[in-house]
Symmetry: C2
Subunit: 296 residues, 2 copies
Amino acid sequence: MILPKYFDDRAKMLDRVLDQYLTPETEEPKDLYAAMRYSVFSGGKRLRPILFYATYEMLVKKATEHQMEQASLIAAALEMVHTASLIHDDLPSVDNSDERRGKESCHVKFGSATAILAGDALLTKAFEMITKLEDPRKAVHCIRVLCNLVSTQGMIGGQTVDIISSSKQNIPITVIKYVHLKKTGALLEAASHLACVMADADENTTNNMVNYAQNLGLAYQIIDDILDDIGDFEMLGKEPYEDARNFKSTYPSILGLDKARQTAEKLISDSSKLIKNLPNNHILIEFVKMIKDRLP
Amino acid sequence: MILPKYFDDRAKMLDRVLDQYLTPETEEPKDLYAAMRYSVFSGGKRLRPILFYATYEMLVKKATEHQMEQASLIAAALEMVHTASLIHDDLPSVDNSDERRGKESCHVKFGSATAILAGDALLTKAFEMITKLEDPRKAVHCIRVLCNLVSTQGMIGGQTVDIISSSKQNIPITVIKYVHLKKTGALLEAASHLACVMADADENTTNNMVNYAQNLGLAYQIIDDILDDIGDFEMLGKEPYEDARNFKSTYPSILGLDKARQTAEKLISDSSKLIKNLPNNHILIEFVKMIKDRLP
């Protein structure tokens, strides 16, 4: 999967901001700062911040250095919330994952207590980042949007339903869709929505960009289900057949492989349509391509 | 311990607001909403919101109904953050407490996964509450103050140092003081500080009210250490001798009972001095009395 230079540039921009605002682990309490930094800098793809930057830069056309600095506060907040959720999801009593991106999970390296607190601290830090925006009205708007997509009707709600469902078999497709849209999709939706708030986009544009992110996020997850089902280790980036081993209901297990693939294709094509008439849309087109290229 | 009618009135006001903003557990995901409500309505003393209301009402003199509605958003946010921290603190991998206020802890009743997520959701909800303030500048100011006192240099930092220290013996008194001031004290400090922000208090008043809360919070914790040490079950409200059983360093174990008592008395007297010249200070005097009355 070859990604355009833009992805690499914005990932580096984000990393500089994260490094600037996350306290070094030479300060006390060292373990807490170390755990936060370890998980934030553990090789994530930075998809949410990059989607945010790409949408924002498309909407404002030529962003000034100052605008990019302000936008970077939101990009960093998105990655902090995402990291907080991964730390808590990996905990033994939640998804019980010892590894994340080929490295020890936060709780394996630092213990569960520190991991729980590091997650709480990153979640809090995300909101603090947004308070640094120079326009208080925009800051409040962004915090409200992020809270809404993080909380009980967003990411946390999706994770809750995923946990409840994973002990059951034959989950309806509507529930699987809900989990995909919320657990993983909510922060992609947040990235798009926050870009629109920062760029003062109108309601129609905001709705379109939110739909674009929702479709892409859902397509990504369905393709993950498919890659797991057919055992494509390389594209999946982790051991396949995990869903089958856990008797987990997925798009291919419920709809069959062909229907799952068609659903993903339809979502990808809908995403393309939503952005095709927008000027300066080439990076958002790359996003669609990147997800389409994962479809086997 | 007889508390003035004011305490009861404001606790009831807070409970109405919490009930209004916390989604009922008849909605999905039911378990998540049930866990959030269970912990929020499990008989807490509401000290932080009441301290906030008392400070705010003293500063604005005669608060209008509308001002009290706005203030209640902050009071609710304080209790939500406090509850989130108790849920996470009680987890098996943190303080491992099966009981809280004589009832099953959140994770015992709902499982650790739901408890972790309910804590995350309450923390997020607290910030969302503050975005509902009509003045965006004040909202951003309040969120910044709360983030600062919740995060790595506040409550979460204090809890981290407490966990690290509890596996060691002969902890220096400066570290015990740090843990008391941060782990428990930070949200009392937040209550005072946020009241000052909401009331547009000047810097000098804000500093005095923050010091008042810090002194009272530290005195409260030292008295807790003393009650545990001498085995006063009734005043402590839980099984005593827990610190000794866990070989935990405390004010009396390090300084001796007399010196610990003198330290608490000094802090209480300092608190009194900080408010004695303020008009309309009778409820804040009650706060001091309430804490003084716990000293055996």
